[in-house]
């Protein structure tokens, strides 16, 4: 990393995640941003640039919603960019913030992610139908859950994994979320509960799925010089990776996310990580569905292909296990306001590395953490590696 600038995270903020919140998207963005600034001990005036991450306009129901949200994100009269890579947006947004600072263009960047899915009425599901190809797919009456069901089924078939192996992820994450003050669906459930829950699109059942939510999250990013002034405890962004696969998702074998591996390799190379399972102390892979956590652990090279379910069964991925996965409770437990949920994962790693995660704190003085999000049509991976 010789001659390249390092970027630190010095504050994080989060609103409640709930099915429906009274606040407008702007107000949610404000609450998260303000909390992140307060946590960093900084003012809006200290922020030289702002990056917004938010998923489809069809949720909030505002065209160009990045523009609409600008003042809530603190962008008044500031350089402001919205980046957007579907579900991958939440983890991608701080990557964009990273290059705002790492380029030397700015000394600070406020990174905000927001989603208000409840605006789409009666259910955001309808907005999801607009993510499909309008000519070849939408006429079939596609439901979003289908593509996950197809992928999950392929993954199970290829590796001979059973539903109960996957259900353990949901049990773990919803349990972890009981300790998260913002969580929407923290719960003590059993594998049987998952297996007995309503079948939505086999093999996907009700408790395999994260909810739809409203919420916002934020981070304060600063250059090395500023970091030294404002905190003794910065967390560094040492790896940034992102990758997209072909539009033709039905032309690929869905059992393995090559794009996540490609994104992870990019981030690991930047961070100088050679042996991910050994060097990563805590990870927050994207878990909008329980099988996705397993799928992504494999894509992130945290274990071998087809091995993630076994590690989960052995308790390796519990908070007190060798490789804690989603100690926050993930999307399954905390909730899934798309972009805000991705950034929530980065917030969690930030807090874990600082030892500020409260009841969720993993033991063993973690030094290196990772967050990852997935997006688009089984297609996008974004990865961030943080170090204390």
């Amino acid at each position: 990393m010789f001659g390249k600038k390092r970027v630190a995270i010095v504050g994080a903020g989060l609103t409640l995640f709930r099915r429906r919140l009274k606040e407008t998207g702007k107000e949610l963005s404000y609450e998260a941003s303000k909390m992140a600034l307060d946590a960093a001990g900084m003012e809006l005036g200290d922020m030289q640039s702002v990056v917004m991450g938010t998923a489809p306009d069809a949720f909030d129901g505002v065209h160009m919603k990045g523009e609409y949200l600008a003042d809530g994100a603190g962008a008044y009269r500031k350089p402001y960019t919205r980046v957007f890579v579907g579900g991958g947006t939440g983890v991608f947004t701080p990557l964009a913030g990273w290059w705002h600072v790492a380029s030397g263009q700015f000394d600070s960047c406020l990174v905000v992610a927001e989603e208000k899915m409840s605006s789409c009425y009666p259910h955001p599901q309808f907005a999801f139908t607009t993510i499909f190809d309008p000519i070849l797919e939408r006429p079939l009456g596609m439901n979003l859950i289908w593509i996950f069901a197809l992928e999950m089924h392929r993954y199970m078939h290829k590796h001979g994994i059973k539903k109960e192996d996957i259900a353990r992820v949901s049990v773990k994450n919803k349990g972890n979320a009981l300790d998260h003050p913002c969580a929407q669906l923290g719960a003590k459930i059993t594998v049987e509960d998952v297996l007995n829950s309503e079948i939505m699109a086999w093999p996907v059942q009700r408790l395999d799925v994260s909810p739809t939510s409203d919420g916002a999250s934020a981070l304060v990013l600063v250059s090395e010089d500023v970091a030294k002034e404002v905190t003794d405890n910065p967390v560094w962004i040492d790896g940034a990776g992102w990758c997209i696969d072909s539009t033709h998702w039905t032309n690929r074998d869905l059992y393995y996310p090559d794009y996540v591996e490609c994104a992870a390799r990019m981030a690991y190379k930047m961070a100088g990580i050679k042996n991910p399972p050994k060097e990563i102390d805590v990870a927050e892979p994207y878990d909008p569905f329980d099988y996705k956590e397993l799928h992504h652990m494999e894509g992130l090279l945290l274990c071998k292909k087809g091995e993630a379910a076994k590690l989960t069964a052995e308790g390796v991925t519990q908070r007190d296990g060798d490789l804690p996965i989603n100690p926050s409770g993930g999307l399954l437990g905390v909730g899934n306001p798309i972009a805000a949920a991705g950034l929530m994962k980065v917030c969690e790693i930030f807090w874990q590395l600082r030892g500020e995660a409260g009841k969720r704190q993993i033991p063993g003085d973690p030094r290196t953490g990772l967050a990852q999000a997935w997006g688009d049509l089984m297609q996008y991976g974004s990865v961030i590696v943080l170090r204390r």
């Binding site: 409640l16 919140l21 606040e23 609450e31 797919e137 289908w146 309503e198 039905t250």
Partner: protein, 173 residues
């Protein structure tokens, strides 16, 4: 954070608050209508569907036969340089039994949906479609299926000109 912050912001509402008008709201349905140009590749694909045929485009560099067709090979970044009909039979790559309609309403009779790798196209070249004339318990990975086309007069040049795919009874060599 966690320990220091006592009060996480956000005022949760219930669906009933909205339904029963306890919380004032503003409503809107946008007018957003489109006439997408189908273009060279998909335009041709739709025309062929109308004739009950499935057409692919081919790349002479990597030798792939690609369906749905495109005018560029995304791997070689070269223009595709040929067209080739593929069969209307294929194998089930993966499938789902869906009790959800597009708008998330619950269905009594499930929709059977699958990715079907088409015969005659390169390996793994699947399309998404529905399955019919099959018991949901009897669907299997790798099962051979065949397109059931709408009658000629009902075909308009659409992916729905194929009603669904159904199992091929006898394995023909």
């Amino acid at each position: 954070m966690s320990e220091k912050i006592k009060n996480y912001r956000g005022e949760a509402l219930k669906s009933a608050d909205i339904k029963e008008g306890r919380v004032p709201t503003e409503k809107c349905r946008p007018k957003a209508k489109f006439a997408w140009s189908a273009g060279i590749a998909i335009g041709r694909f739709l025309e062929e569907l109308k004739k009950a045929k499935i057409i692919a485009s081919t790349c002479s560099k990597c030798g792939r036969i690609m369906v749905p067709p495109r005018i560029y090979c995304e791997n070689c970044f070269k223009p595709t340089d040929g067209w080739k009909y593929v069969k209307d039979t294929g194998t089930i790559n993966t499938y789902s039994v869906s009790y959800l309609a597009a708008d998330a309403t619950r269905l009594k009779e499930p929709i059977l949906v699958a990715i079907i790798d088409l015969d005659g196209a390169s390996e793994g070249m699947g399309i998404i479609h529905k399955l019919g004339e099959v018991d949901k318990e009897k669907i299997e990975f790798g099962m051979k299926v065949r397109a059931v086309w709408k009658p000629k007069e009902e075909r308009v040049g659409s992916i729905t000109d194929i009603k669904y795919f159904k199992p091929v009874k006898e394995e023909t060599p």
